[in-house]
Amino acid sequence: MTAAGDGRALRAAAFAVLALGVIGPIAAGLAQTARAAFGLMPAIGAAQAGLGPWRTLFGLPGFATSVQLTLLTGLGATVLSLAIAFALTASLHARLAGTAAARALTPFLAIPHAALAIGLAFVLAPSGWIVRFVAPLLGLDRPPDLALVGDPWGIALILGLVIKEVPFLVLVTLSALTQFPVRQHLAAGQSLGYGRAAVWLKVLAPQLWPLIRLPLMVVLAYALSTVEMGLILGPSNPPVLAVLLTRLFFDANTALLLPASAGALLQAGLAVGAFALVWSAERALRRVGLWWLRRGGRGTAAEPPLRVLAAGGLVLFAIGALALVALFAWSLAWRWPWPAVLPESWSLKAWTGAGPGLGRAFLRTLVLALVTTSLALALAIAWLEGEDRGRRGRAGWAEALIFLPLLVPQIAFLYGLNVLFLRLGLSGGLGAVIWAQALFVFPYVMIALSDPWRALDPRLPRAAASLGAGPWRRLVAVKLPVLLAPILTAAAIGMAVSVAQYLPTLFMGAGRIATLTTEAVTLSSASDRRVTGVYATLQAGVPLASYAAAFLIPALVHRNRRALRGADA
C-alpha cells in the first residue's frame, strides 16, 4: 500500500472513531435531552409531548436568579480571565520565555477544578486562612459571620474560575505570540511614539484574537456550565443553573427529569447565546477599535489599567498557590482551632484512617486516567500521522470537530446519553465512564500534540525514507522517539483532564463509579476538612505527578542528547 493510501486509511479510521464515538453520541444525547425537554421520556412513562417541562422549570423557586447568576459568573469570569491573561502576557512577555512560563503555570493547569475550588474554600472561608491571618490585626475573636464562600453574587465562584482559566489563556496567548514578530511590532510602534500598552492593545491584540478565539470559547462554555466549581464555591440557594439541574437530575422524584432536561437544553442555548455575544462584540470592537486607532492617540492612559490587571493576576496566582498548600496542610492537621495560623498538632490519621474507600477511589481514578489517556493518545497519533501521510493540513471542519465536545455544555447531552445507554444496558459501567471521559481528554491531547508534531523537522523522516525506512519504521523509530517530550506532556494533560472529570463520571457511572473527584466533591459539603483535604490532595497529586513524570522521563532518556533537551515544554 502506498503511503498516501495508507494515510487515507489512517485518516478514515481516526475519522470513523471520532464520528461514531464523538459526534454521533453527542447528537444522540442532545436529541434525547430535547425529547425529554418537551415531555417525551418513555422510561418514566412520560409520553405526552408539550411545554409542561418548561412551565415546571420556569416555575421553580429562584429559577430566574439561577439563570442571572449563571450569566453573570460565566461571562464575568471569562471577560476577567481574558483581560488578566492579556495584561499578564503584555507585562511579562519580555521577561518570560515560553518554557519557563509553562513550567511556572503547570501546577495551575494540572490541578482539577474541584481540588482548586476546595482549596480556595479553605482559604477564603470566614474560618479560612486569609481571615486567620488578619484576625489578630482586626481584633476578631470568632470567625466573622459573612458568606465569603458561596456568596449570593457568585464572587467566590468567579474568583475560582479566573484563577483556573488565566494560566490556560496565558499559555495559549504565549504560544500564539510565537507566530508573529512581537519585538519588531513593539519597536515599530514605540518608535512612532505609542506607549507599550497602546501597542499591545492597538497592534498586537487584533492579531492575537483570531488565534485565541476558540480556546476562549472553551473557557466560556466551561464557565457557564461548571457543576463542581458551582457546587463548592457558588451560592447554594439558588445555585447556578448547572448545579440546579444536577440536583433535579438526581432527585428522587423522577418526574423532575423532564424540567431538568428542559434546563439542560436551556444551558446549551445559553452557551450558543454567549458565543453569539462574543461574535457581535468582536464586530463592534473592530469598528470602535478602528475609530480609536485612526484618532492616533498615543495611549499613555492605557498603561496603568494594564498594570493593575497584571498585578491583580499575580495576587490571584498567590491565592491559588495558597489554596494548594491549604489542601495539604488540612490533610495533615489534627488540632487546628481558630484563629491559629498553623495547626497546633499534626497527624497522619486523616490519611491512614480514610479506610479502603480512599485506596479504591485512588486506584479507579488512576486506571480511568491511564486508559482514557492511552486511547486519546493513540487516536491523536493516528490522526496526525494520517495527516502526514496524506501530506495535507487539517481542514477547518476537522478542527471544529475536535473542539466540539469542549464547546457543548456537558450537562446538555450527558444525561440524554445516559438514558440512551441505560436502554442499551451500557450505563453504570466502567466502559461508559471511560468513553465519556475520553470524549473530553482527546481534544486536549490533540491540541497539545498538534503544534509540536507539525514542528518536527520534516527532513528527519525524509532522511529515514532515503535510508529505506518505510512509513511505520519512520513513525516508530524516528518520529515518536524524537517527539517523546511533547507526547508525554500531552499525556500528562490527558491525565489531568481525566482526573478532573466530575459530571461525565457521575452521569455515565450512574453515581456508582466513585473516583477521587466525585468523592472530593461530595465530601466538600461535609464538615471534616481533614478528610476532604486528603481526597483533594490526592486528586491534585495524580496530575501533578504526571506532569513531573512528563518532565523527568525525557530528561532522563535524553540526558545524553543535547539536541532534544530544552525542546520539551
Binding site: T2, R462, A463, A465, L467, A469, G470, N560, R561, L564
Partner: protein, 216 residues
Amino acid sequence: MSLVLENLQLTLAGRALFAPLTLTVEPGCVATVMGPSGVGKSTLLDAIAGHLAPAFSMTGRIALDGRDLALIPPEARRIGLVFQDAVLFPHLSVGDNLAFGLASSVKGRDARRGAVERALAQAGLAGLYGRDPASLSGGQRSRAALMRTLLAAPAALLLDEPFSKLDTGLRDEIRAFTFANVRERAVPALMVTHDPADAEAAAGQTIGLTSIGETP
C-alpha cells in the same frame, strides 16, 4: 546503474518552474545543478527522492537503472539524500544513526556492529559509536551523515548543497571525501549547489537551471 531524467518539468499552480530537463548521470559521476534561489533546485531533488509536495505536479520521467520511479514510494527508491546540515537523528547515538542506515541484508549482531565500526573508522570517527550527534563538530557530522547514507547501499545519491555550511578549509576535505566515496562505490550522484567551486571539484556535467517566463 545510471540516473536518467527525461523532459522533467515541475509546475506549481500551472506555472512551470524551469525548462524541461534532460540529463543522464553515469555511475561514479557527479552532475551539478546550479541556478538562482527559488528556481526550484530543491524541489527537483524532492521530486527525484519522492517527497514532492502535493501542490506541485510533475511531467516527464525519472528512471534509475532503467526502472521508472514515478510510482515507487520514497523508501523503496534506493536514493540516498545528503543534506546541507547533516540531519542526524537527534535521539540516536552516532553509531546507531549509522546502524539505522545499514542495509538489512547485513545479518547478525556482530556483522552489523562490525560494518558500522568499519564505516566509522573510514570516516575518521573511530571510537565515537556512543557519542551524542549534537556533540560532533560540523565536519564529523557531515562525514557521519554521508556514511549513514552509503551504508544503506543506495543506487543513487542526491546532494543538497552538502558543503555550504562548512568552513572553507573543511569544505575541501569533506568534498574530496564525498566525491571519492561516490567514485569508489560507482553510484550516480546529483548535486545542487550555489558554489562554482563545488561544480569544478565534481568534474562532471554542470546544468544551469533558469526560470522560464522571466527574462534576466
